[in-house]
């Protein structure tokens, strides 16, 4: 993840600080993620994971520091947003619309052919849910639809905020399978507080503690005790 290499960088953060009401949530983050890498950002509640993802999604600007996506400044080249797919913790779907209506609406916004909606429904095993209103779906089903929405426009960068939180084991396994099948050459950053989830998908990991990134390593090399100590360190 961080370090040097010939692969182009999908994400480059340099000295990124984000403060809300003068309270820093992210403190001078440096992060580089190679194209096609799947990175887990681990951290306890309140460590700044969601804020980091929102900065990467260009939804909020950092107070200080620079953000580069695919070698370009997303605030100078707003069209880069077209290359980002975001699945935040809360569902971004319209509750009163059906699954298919939601997907068709977002497909039209992105200028995606309607046929892609059918493909995404099939790939996400969402066919039986297509005609159901989002309001009546379970959390796991909604999460699957949200992932489908984020993948509609075939984004180069997929950002997932605690995608498995609140799901039972079956639903989490189904979602992980859908995400894995859709990866391709996509760069994925996903936030989680569960080291087991990190190992499920990620090829790289970073620990975020009190707004600062700890030294990183492949997730399988991360020692459970090290991660747990990171979480406790934040809470103490």
């Amino acid at each position: 993840m961080t370090g040097t290499g010939s692969a182009p960088w999908a994400i480059e953060l340099a000295g990124v600080t984000k403060a809300f009401d003068y309270r820093p949530v992210l403190r001078g983050l440096d992060l580089r993620v190679r194209t096609g890498e799947i990175v887990a950002v681990l951290g306890a509640n309140g460590s700044g994971k969601s804020t980091l993802l929102r900065v990467l999604a260009t939804l909020i600007r950092p107070t200080r520091g620079t953000v580069s996506l695919f070698g370009q400044d997303p605030w100078v080249v707003p069209d880069l947003r077209r290359r980002i797919g975001l699945v935040p913790h809360e569902s971004l779907l319209y509750q009163s619309l059906t699954v298919e209506e939601n997907l068709r609406f977002f497909a039209a916004l992105y200028g995606v052919a309607p046929a892609r909606v059918v493909t995404v429904l099939e790939e996400g095993d969402l066919g039986p849910l297509a005609g159901r209103r989002v309001r009546i779906l379970s959390r796991g089903q909604r999460q699957q639809v949200d992932v489908a929405r984020a993948l509609l426009h075939d984004p180069s960068l997929l950002l997932l905020d605690e995608p498995f939180t609140g799901l039972d084991l079956d639903a989490a396994a189904r979602l992980a399978s859908v995400i894995r099948r859709s990866l391709g050459a996509r760069t994925v950053v996903f936030a989680t507080h569960d080291p087991a989830e990190a190992r499920l998908l990620a090829t790289g990991a970073a620990v975020l503690r009190a707004g600062r990134l700890e030294p990183t390593a492949p997730p399988e090399a991360l020692d459970e005790a090290q991660l747990v100590a990171g979480f406790r360190g934040h809470r103490s």
């Binding site: 939804l59 947003r81 569902s91 319209y94 992105y110």
Partner: protein, 215 residues
Amino acid sequence: MSHVLLLVAKDLRLEWRSREIVMSMGLVALLLVVVLAAARAEASLTPAAMWVTYAFGAAVGFARMFATERDPLTALLLAPVDRSLIYVAKVVTNWLAVVVVQVASLPLFGALFTETVWAHLPALALPLLLGGLSLAVVGTLFSALIVQTRLRDALLPLLMLPVMLPALIAAMGATTGILEGQPLAAVAVHLRLLAAFDMLFATAGVLLFEVLISE
């Protein structure tokens, strides 16, 4: 333009299913018309009664407007859509909601206040449409400002109605003139003021919307 139509179509579909905005506006409007008529149903008070009804109805209805958008708005902000078009689409939807309430309440004003409403219906359309647009451009702008606040239902009337005052005075002036049988030329100054107000706040909304909804 196609994005605006797409967003409006989505808003109308959501409103058709929930009827949240039109129902809340309509109920407040109905209540106000009946109370005002019971207090003093005079022909000369019709314009004031109409615009008080529309203004308070809109303030209540618009507060609900972004309720369905709180989370999906993030997805809209990520989409390759000019963010000011989201504002434009909301203005169109809200304007249509105001027009529905205006059309639905006219028979009540005709029955309870003055029958001259029917005689001047075509001419009345102009101040009603322009004044309704004033409510929509200002209401949408302030709704965006307070979308993340918990007290938005209470805050919106407090923020919106003082700003609306010049437009409400102009709308009442135009409506009064028309109901008194004056030609449109005689109330043109009020209509021009309404049009200028709409242009000013629509421009402000287009320019400020992105800043207001960010973070």
